[in-house]
Subunit: 436 residues, 2 copies
């Protein structure tokens, strides 16, 4: 087998077999196949696509390049959720304890933020001491004890994905549905879950800007997961506007804690309960969306989910008193206010602009190597559909001392559209793909 022949086969619209894909991935990770051949192949895949069998074979080869987490001996079922990333998306922080409180184990592999999007690990690390870099023994222990665990990607999980992603990043081959699918699944499937609910975001603040592109990715994720003999369903949700009222890290932990204590913003509630319901359905613990959503709401209202969250913070090395003390969760001290320039209704708050403003304030990373300011962030005082008067604060920016926020403020101001009439009501759940 020669790499160049496989490149030509794919270039000409052919289908790569399991053994051909194994040859390519093993060859690349071992260094036998040079990166210039792999990047040409990736571009051929960008143009020619891959069917679900090929995508599943790529996923398997990538999983096989590393270790998988052994969950044997722990009672399941194990169901995880994956979000394609957005702005203000703290759903994972709420959803894991809620679903765990309903009796389903959630081993959740999380990522860091990059670009305008936030990352669950960055948010959790704003809690002093919280660790997501865990040994397999710790992962098993925390999952058994709390019902869920938040873990970062390790060197040993799907190292081929890390190599391939780095190459895609510099060769213009990131935006390929089958490559995105295999990248997501190779990490998720390595964690040992029985099934996945995919939250595919669509809109300015999402990786997929249009609903059509998000649907395509949702279909690819669900169908490829099924080829991998795991259960899956997907929900395409709106990411034109940030979720909740806070964007950042510690400010999102605070919003999560408040939500777990009962003060849950309506958009966060709607998405969380829908995803939670679908996770319970995949686990066989709910027969319908309504039944599953009711179960989720019930463990939130009873405080059971909150208690599990506190338990988890302690188990993962964080200080449980910290999240219970409102004064510890205050944002960074330097504050800038954005005011409405006219009377009217907020017609939209652009998630992409708000996400980038948050990065400029220190809450995110422009490049992978950057550090972040955990207390920096943005409060959306007004959101879509809310009435404003000229001069009223629509948005507050928080950053550490010494930082000028002119550029962030300009972006945040530009994110707001105020119209003379109230906007039409917004749909959050755009599309759903049932598990079959």
């Amino acid at each position: 087998m020669r790499a160049v022949d496989l490149i030509v086969k794919k270039r000409n619209g052919g289908e790569l077999s399991e053994s051909e894909i194994q040859f390519l991935v093993k060859g690349y990770t071992s260094g036998a196949i040079p990166d210039y051949q792999v990047s040409a192949l990736l571009m051929a895949i960008y143009f020619g696509g891959m069917n679900f069998e090929e995508t599943a074979a790529l996923t398997r080869a990538m999983i096989g390049s590393g270790r998988t987490i052994d969950l044997s001996g722990i009672s399941g079922p194990f169901i995880d959720k994956h979000s394609t990333g957005g702005v203000g998306d703290k759903i994972s922080l709420l959803l894991a304890p809620i679903v765990a409180a309903c009796g389903v184990k959630v081993p959740m592999l999380c990522g860091r933020g990059l670009g305008h999007t936030g990352g669950t690990i960055d948010k959790l690390e704003s809690i002093p001491g919280y660790r997501t870099s865990l040994s397999e023994r710790e992962i098993r222990g925390i999952l058994s004890e709390c019902g869920f665990v938040f873990m970062g990607q390790t060197e040993s999980i799907a190292p081929a994905d890390k190599l391939l992603y780095a190459l895609r990043d510099v060769t213009g081959t990131v935006e390929s549905i089958p490559l995105i699918t295999a990248s997501i699944l190779s990490k998720k499937a390595a964690e040992g879950s029985d099934g996945f609910v995919f939250d595919v975001k669509a809109g300015s603040g999402a990786f997929m800007k249009t609903e059509a592109a998000a649907k395509e990715l949702a279909e690819s994720l669900v169908k490829t997961t099924r080829v991998l003999d795991k259960k899956a369903s997907a929900v395409v949700t709106a990411m034109d506007e940030p979720l909740g009222r806070f964007v950042g890290n510690l400010v999102e932990v605070r919003e999560t804690v408040r939500a777990l204590l009962g003060d849950i913003p309506s958009d966060i509630g709607e998405v969380t309960y829908r995803l939670g319901a679908r996770m319970l359905m995949l686990a066989g613990r709910a027969g319908s969306i309504d039944e599953g959503a009711a179960a989720c709401r019930s463990v939130l209202e009873s405080g059971a989910a909150y208690r599990l969250f506190v338990h988890n913070v302690a188990a993962q090395g964080g200080d449980p008193d910290f999240i219970a003390a409102p004064e510890m969760l205050e944002p960074a001290p330097r504050r800038f206010e954005i005011k409405a320039e006219k009377d009217g209704w907020v017609a939209g708050v652009d998630a992409f602009k708000i996400g980038n403003a948050a990065v400029l304030l220190g809450a995110g990373r422009a490049i992978k190597e950057s550090g972040i300011a955990p207390r920096a962030g943005i409060e959306l005082v007004k959101k879509r559909g809310e009435e404003v008067e000229r001069g009223a604060v629509v948005c507050s920016l928080y950053c550490e001392e010494g930082l000028e926020a002119d550029e962030a403020a300009a972006l945040a101001r530009a994110a707001y559209t105020v119209s003379d009439e109230p906007p039409e009501s917004r749909r959050l759940i755009l599309y759903e793909m049932e598990a079959s």
Copy 2:
């Protein structure tokens, strides 16, 4: 400027500017842009194409990576022919002295054979002492003296093309019309001609298997050359069957010498006179195909072209007595005959199979580094349209002692189709693109 942004631009169907293409080629040849980015770009070009302006810009950047030959002080006009390569294609050997004898200078950059196709340099080097590796001073001297010169590519001509071709070869990006065009033109334009006639071969023995693909390449070559402010025309010619009756190196030199002495096979004559006429027209030395062809025929019949050829052999280090001595031009001693299996007419002699049989006999190279046997080759005793009787020799194979020719013989046998009825007459000139 970042390479990845230019890859994405091309991937998304954008047009690269002259300065962007310069940046990429300079970056690649200097090592600043890694080959994995260039191979991804090449694959994006394979799928997305390039227009004639982009192709011309790529050609200029590749020419600019090396030296060009300075022909100032030598009286022109300078016109060259380029063939995309075929089997039994010794047209260059005849055409250069013919056109030079008509008063047009022909500085001809030639290549070696690779795969099933032969190369002009390999054929010339079967003449003991003949050198194509020449200094610029020698090139100028031989061109002034004989009116034509055959030169090999040097390290200093378009080194970027050498690098890019090597990368394309291992990344499945050879078969791209704009990349083929820029590769051809970067070498040809560096030799300083005022215009080019392109002989684009179509058929089993050609790089372009179909007439449609050959037309597309012809159009790209002519139109890109015009963007480069040089004159051009193109002829698409048939390469389903080898040209002439001999395939190899020394056997093709012998066929050339015989042709220059007046014994010119009809297919070789037709293609040579057509290309020669077009070269004279580009040079302003003929007003029509008929006038140009008559001039070419005249210098052949007068012996003027033969005398120039002998002169050139001496000027380029070869022994002129060698080519004048029939016993020196004999093929290799070991001979195998292929016989007709039934009575009928030869319906076709597959050029690809014959080319590969010649390689197996030692006349060509399977890989770039191979040496060749100069006296090995094939004689097509019978060609398309000729009547044969069962048991009559249709083809003879020649190789050096010690070589078994079973595989070559099987290929040569398979190359022949004998039918019960005479085949339709064959068109050699399939399509022509006028210079405007």
